[in-house]
């Protein structure tokens, strides 16, 4: 029970509240006590000085008279008047000899009770001494009433705190138990399990839905991992088998020339396999997201321009037409190297699959504060049902099986797009395929820094 966080919290709050009540009570008590004492003391001082006045005006007999009279009044102060050598003159306190000034004195009441009174002893002319005292007991009674009141308040706080704490911890405990249950189920292998939400939209719900999103992400990653290992097993088996056959054949080959040819072929096979591995690792690393630290503001039209410029002659030689239509100044934040490879893969994909005499148009458009790249061809296109799947690793359309390629080009594109938080859309260019990659807006600071850089690099000798 006490290991529950909410119970502990409730207990802690109750203790804190109780302490607050105690501190509050004590401070009120002390202030009141000091205040009351001040008032009593002031009254004693007034009395003492009034009697001294009386002495000066009426002499000893006048004072004695006054003392006797005042002593007789109910609820009055106590008085005492004695001579310099201590002989009592008048008043109940005449027999006691407290030191001059303030003191506390023990007295025995007429009914036998022992009590304490506070006294002020003053010197009158001719060595007479006047003692004025007041009962402390009224004060004490008041104080004990107050303490009692505070004790009740304290008890109330503790009881209410305990009740509130119980209610709170019960509610929280129920919901934490639901979370624990979901986590246990997931540990036991039920990966589809999610934490139920209470619908109250509070912080625990927010936490639960964050956890659920995390679980979704993990499930997606697990799925993609499973997919990759399947794909690797499938797609590497063929070239590895071929490699094995080639090596086997080279062992049997009688002629030296034949053998070295077989070895050259084997090296080619290994290179192809390694390339596939490299591509897979690269995709995995991009999906890992570590590259985001290398993001810089950049002009998309420059990146895309370089790629189109590199591929245009090859396209032309193949009887295809690759053209660029770029609006400059489309700023995005990203990794130039990966964006270059992404564009190259898109262009290569179009060159490879759109067929002879295909027209491929690459556009860079500014879109608000950001930009998008569109690569469109007029080839046979991709059937709608398969459009999403061509982004998967190793996925290839049936008719493309004979064209070269490892089925990883667009998977890498998809990974780069995801890394940049961009969106990728595959559209029907009627005829052909249009791939549209739209980027989000770069941060303001980045844009400014970039503009300054652009100004500098506009000098003629740059580059």
């Amino acid at each position: 029970m006490f290991r529950s966080t909410s119970v502990r919290l409730a207990a802690l709050y109750t203790v804190a509240f109780a302490l607050a009540v105690v501190v509050l009570g004590a401070s009120i008590l002390f202030t009141t006590r000091a205040h009351l004492r001040q008032q009593f003391d002031a009254r004693l001082e007034v009395e003492a000085s009034a009697l001294a006045q009386e002495f000066r005006a009426e002499g000893l007999s006048g004072v004695a008279q006054a003392v006797v009279e005042r002593d007789r009044m109910a609820g009055a102060l106590d008085y005492g008047l004695c001579t310099a050598d201590g002989r009592p003159v008048a008043g109940r306190l005449a027999g006691s000899h407290p030191p001059l000034g303030w003191s506390r004195m023990r007295i025995v009441q007429p009914d036998g009770d022992v009590g304490f009174i506070r006294v002020l002893s003053t010197q009158l002319p001719q060595g007479y001494r006047l003692v004025v005292g007041t009962d402390d007991e009224q004060n004490d009674a008041f104080e004990s009433n107050m303490i009692q009141g505070f004790a009740w308040a304290l008890a109330g706080v503790v009881i209410l705190g305990a009740l509130g704490g119980y209610a709170l911890s019960h509610g929280v405990h129920r919901r934490l138990a639901a979370m624990t249950g979901a986590a246990e189920a997931i540990i036991d292998g039920d990966l589809a399990r999610r934490i139920p939400l209470s619908g109250s939209d509070d912080d625990l719900d927010a936490l639960a839905s964050t956890f659920n999103r995390m679980l979704e992400r993990i499930a997606a990653l697990m799925e993609s991992l499973r997919q990759v290992s399947n794909d690797v097993a499938h797609d590497l088996r063929t070239p590895l088998t071929r490699l094995r056959q080639r090596l086997e054949a080279s062992r049997l080959a009688p002629a030296r020339e034949e053998r070295s040819e077989a070895i050259a072929g084997a090296i080619e096979d290994v290179d192809a396999i390694l390339e596939t591995f490299a591509a897979l690792l690269r995709i995995a690393q991009i999906e890992g997201g570590a590259r985001r630290a290398a993001f810089r503001p950049l002009d998309l039209s420059v990146v895309v321009g370089t790629v189109v410029d590199a591929f245009a002659p090859s396209a032309e030689d193949a009887g295809q037409c690759l053209t660029l239509s770029a609006e400059p100044g489309g700023l995005i934040e990203g990794d130039a190297e990966l964006l270059t490879q992404m564009t190259a893969n898109l262009v290569e994909n179009a060159l490879r699959h759109a067929g002879n005499k295909a027209q491929i148009l690459v556009e860079v458009r500014r879109k608000g504060p950001s930009a998008e790249v569109v690569v469109a061809d007029n080839g046979p296109g991709v059937p709608e049902a398969e459009r999403e799947r061509i982004l998967d690793r190793f996925y290839r359309l049936e008719r493309s099986r004979s064209t070269p390629g490892d089925g990883l080009g667009l998977a890498l594109v998809a990974a780069v797009v995801r890394l940049h938080g961009a969106t990728l859309r595959l559209e029907d260019a009627a005829p052909g395929l249009r791939v549209r990659v739209s980027f989000g807006a770069p941060a303001d600071g980045a844009t400014l820094a970039f503009l300054n850089l652009a100004d500098i690099s506009r000098s003629p000798d740059a580059g």
Binding site: L274, E275, F277, A278, L280, L281, R282, A284, Q285, I286, A290, R291, A294, T306, D309, A310, F311, P313, S314, D317, E337, T340, Q341, A344, E348, L351, R352, P404, G405
Partner: protein, 225 residues
């Protein structure tokens, strides 16, 4: 050339030593980062081939220590397959070039040659000349035998790189990296097509061809024999 290979894997080390020795270089092999550091700091090598992944003192530490102690020997970093950030990190730490394992020996040789004979940038003459081919880096003009040759900007860059490495083999990937800044291998033969266009402008109809294809390795621009 005198080369130092820092490589912990014995088999790879032996393979490198044999390949490089066959190409006429003197090769020392260090099997640990510590030993490599000791040798590189103590002897004058033309190029150091440094494996990034070494036990104990790793390649990056060796590289940083060398650079911090003022050793300016060119370093070629060997990185593992798919190490996407290794290149940037390596170049920042002071490497002059990098190569992803596994690689072809021809590629390594070409890069080592380019590294060892690479003059500091400020020492590159404004006008490069090979036989009767002249390239002016300031006016960005090219002439062959006195006749002006019109080149596209990218062809100009390609030719400049070849001329700066005149007499040495440059590989496809070296060209992809330095001319296009492509750090991946496109399936399309973009280097070949650009090269054939450049050749058409430089060499076509001439008695002496300057740009040569080196089979299995790359290209070489050199004076006719």
């Amino acid at each position: 050339m005198k080369l130092l290979v820092v490589e912990d894997d014995r088999e790879t080390g032996a393979y490198l030593k044999r390949g490089l020795s066959e190409a006429g270089h003197t090769v020392d092999v260090a099997e640990s980062g510590r030993e490599g550091l000791f040798l590189a700091a103590g002897e004058a090598y033309d190029v150091v081939v440094l494996d990034r992944m070494l036990p104990h003192t790793d390649g990056m530490t060796v590289l940083r220590t060398l650079r911090a102690s003022g050793v300016r020997t060119p370093v070629l970093l060997l990185t593992a397959l798919g190490g996407i950030d290794d290149r940037v990190e390596g170049l920042e730490a002071g490497a002059d070039d990098y190569l992803v394992k596994p690689f072809a020996m021809a590629e390594l040789l070409a890069r080592l040659n380019a590294l060892a004979r690479r003059p500091p940038t400020q020492d590159i003459p404004a006008v490069l000349q090979v036989a009767d081919l002249k390239l002016d880096r300031l006016t960005r003009s090219v002439t062959r035998g006195g006749a002006r040759v019109e080149l596209q900007p990218r062809e100009f860059q390609l030719l400049e790189y070849l001329m700066r490495n005149a007499g040495r083999v440059v590989t496809r990937t070296m060209l992809l990296e330095s001319v296009w800044d492509f750090h991946f291998d496109p399936r399309t033969n973009i280097v070949e097509t650009h090269m054939s266009r450049l050749r058409a402008k430089i060499d076509r109809g001439r008695a002496n061809e300057l740009i040569h294809t080196v089979r299995g390795a790359g290209y070489c621009l050199r004076e006719p024999d």
